[in-house]
Symmetry: C2
Subunit: 419 residues, 2 copies
């Protein structure tokens, strides 16, 4: 089945916000086995929105609209969609009560505007919105459907997961099952080369490749009559990917991120951790702190951007900084050593590098980063050369630091086993 996305909002046309909704919906739809050939963005304008809806409904089986369901006069996605499919709007009392409840719970009063949101197109299915006042709507006509979602990601995402995914699954002939194999520490092109024959040979299950910073995800999707069957079909492909990528596979669970895998590993091995960051300046700590419950493991992070801080807080030797510079294997090693001592942590990770755009030289170009990982006194230092903007270099350094942590903890676990 073919799906088409229409994002509604003047703020998108003005470049005021980035269209993360479209990326989210597109990824989800691809995971559900739907084909998407067009996405469009259109403003809050009846004539242009009508034209966009007509064109999309002509081309696709499913049209997903997001945005323009708010209470103001400007918001006209619902009104326009209803007009295109010749539906009258009527007051839905259940929706009205929900809106009233939403405001009462927050000790606020709805304004007259808000009742506009309780008007529902004839025959539409109302989708509950626990995070806002605009309900979602599903309209069906001649084997086609239109799905209307609120624009704020905090409302759209939970609604899509809870209500729209089951609806779309039920629309399809058969059942879709997906499993994602997540790989770190291998470059995108190398990973693709290693899996190219597999990707080329598959039609059901299919393998989609997603390159993230420092990671590659392989999503294996099978379509079958029953879930068990689809699951069974993905299994050999998932196993083959795991075999090929070995210890580079950090998870095959949808919700596990790289930082979560690292934190889990720390918790399992009962290891505490500290970070000492120079070029990544807090971004590594920020990613670890994405993981709820990390406070038991993360003792402290030191952001030692200046040479002085490296010396005073981490005990990096003046001679080391003078002889090798702050961006050197030697400095990274001393940072990781000092951080573990200073924080009294089992594991310490240190980053030092040239994020750019200035500060590079022939010998030490922009993008050069050293990362050291100290696990109970055993320190490993790695040298990296990244390219791209200041932010890109730092993001790559963070992903590499997580990958290196994971590698060193796994080695420590192996050694501990042997003893």
């Amino acid at each position: 089945m073919v799906v088409e996305l229409i994002s509604v909002g003047t703020e998108l046309l003005l470049g005021n916000i980035v269209n993360t909704n479209a990326a989210y919906l597109a990824e989800k739809c691809a995971g559900l086995g739907l084909s998407c050939y067009y996405q469009s963005v259109v403003g809050d304008n009846e004539e242009r929105l009508s034209a966009a809806i007509r064109a999309a409904a002509d081309r696709a089986d499913i049209v997903i609209l997001s945005g323009g369901l708010g209470p103001t006069e400007d918001d006209l996605t619902k009104e326009t969609a209803a007009k295109v499919w010749e539906r009258h709007l009527f007051l839905d009392l259940a929706v009205k009560m929900q809106i009233q409840g939403f405001f009462t719970k927050r000790g606020m009063n709805p304004t007259e505007n808000n009742w506009k949101q309780s008007m529902v197109p004839e025959g539409a299915v109302v989708v509950n919105n626990p995070n806002g006042t605009a309900p979602g709507l599903i309209m069906e006509k001649d084997q086609k459907c239109m799905i209307l979602l609120p624009g704020p990601p905090g409302e759209l995402v939970p609604m899509f997961e809870e209500s729209i995914v089951p609806y779309l699954k039920a629309l399809q002939p058969g059942v879709i099952f997906s499993k994602t194999v997540k790989v770190c520490g291998i470059g995108e092109s190398q990973a693709e080369t290693m899996a190219k024959d597999l990707i080329g040979a598959q039609t059901n299950p299919t393998i989609a490749t997603y390159a993230k910073t420092g990671e590659v995800h392989f999503r294996v999707t099978a379509l079958a009559d029953a879930k068990e069957e689809a699951k069974r079909m993905t299994k050999p492909v998932v196993e083959e990917l795991k075999k090929r990528f070995g210890s580079h596979v950090y998870t095959s669970k949808e919700k596990v991120t790289l930082e979560r895998a690292v934190v889990k590993l720390l918790q399992k091995e009962k290891l505490t951790v500290a970070t000492a960051e120079s070029c990544t300046g807090g971004m590594l700590a920020a990613r670890l702190i994405n993981v709820s419950g990390v406070s038991e493991s993360l003792k402290v992070s030191y952001i030692t951007y200046s040479d002085k801080a490296k010396r005073n807080i981490l005990g990096v030797k003046k001679g080391t900084l003078e002889e090798f510079g702050a961006v050197s294997s030697e400095a990274a090693e001393e940072m990781a050593k000092g951080a573990a001592i200073s924080a009294n942590a089992d594991v310490a990770v240190a980053t030092t590098g040239i994020a750019g755009p200035k500060g590079g030289s022939g010998q030490k170009p922009v993008g050069l980063v050293y990362i050291a990982c100290n696990v109970k006194g055993k320190i490993r230092v790695e040298k990296y050369q990244f390219s791209g903007s200041r932010m890109k270099v730092r993001e790559n350094a963070v992903a590499s630091a997580l990958t290196l942590m994971r590698k060193c903890i796994l080695e420590y676990r192996e050694t501990a086993k042997d003893e």
Copy 2:
């Protein structure tokens, strides 16, 4: 004049990447005074791409295509655009030499594929790409034009700034001049209310409002026959905005970010700074470190996520944590006090809060954040209640911390003046 954007790429349709190019181009075009009513995304498919180009060229004066200029068989934006406007492709020797030079400089050899990129549509203007092998292209026909740009943002952005902006400016009757007034510490709706009459009354210059996390930007754009004239026209509006928003205006320069304004202020007042972060976990430091040259001012950042770290590193009293909890005005104050002492810094900022999604309670709901700022012993603590996801709460806390720092340093400067 009307512009329309077409982003080409299967990776966008699959949700593999977020379409930041469209947001960038849309914002730039709005700044140039161009109207944009549609954006679309289409895959590397000749038939669908042709249809998208025809529709866009029908509706708009300027069509900007991005992506699909690569060397592989899949890349067919140039070929399709040329076909739609009935142009033959011919080999451009200058482009071929540039491609050769690009590879030679990097000690690499081009593959046979790469020569595809030296084919240029008849009559097209070739736009130099210093960051890649795909040149940009401009084709004109019947008062309309099509602009083809490479997809990677690292190539698209510099090319747009250097070559396309001047071209688009020259297309327009008159000259566009923009000035942005950036405001912090005032909510979006309040800021809009305060400027509503101004926004409503203006046609030339126009005022566009951009809400960012913790900030609101007003872009004042004037169209005139000459630059001086356009500049003169924006002036009274910019002055009026500055008057209304007073000390909340942190800059009216395009390239100055909030963190940069804060760092500049620190440098001007010769103040050193330290951060002590709990809920923001390094994100505040990471933003300060966005500013190249911050190392002279930023002594160190402590990420003290656990109670133990707050006590050991910052000297927060056990009694304070027990009586008031780690998320309290008292704890924030002690954190800012301890950080300044421990780092020997003039300014210390501390954040502590409940980022969620778990950990909230009736008395201390998710989104509650305390931020303390200590300037040479004078400590101010503010309480905030944010909403949204864990990341949203943390981003808001970072923006508020920067705003509070700015406010406290300005107060310090005033006091110092008086003495």
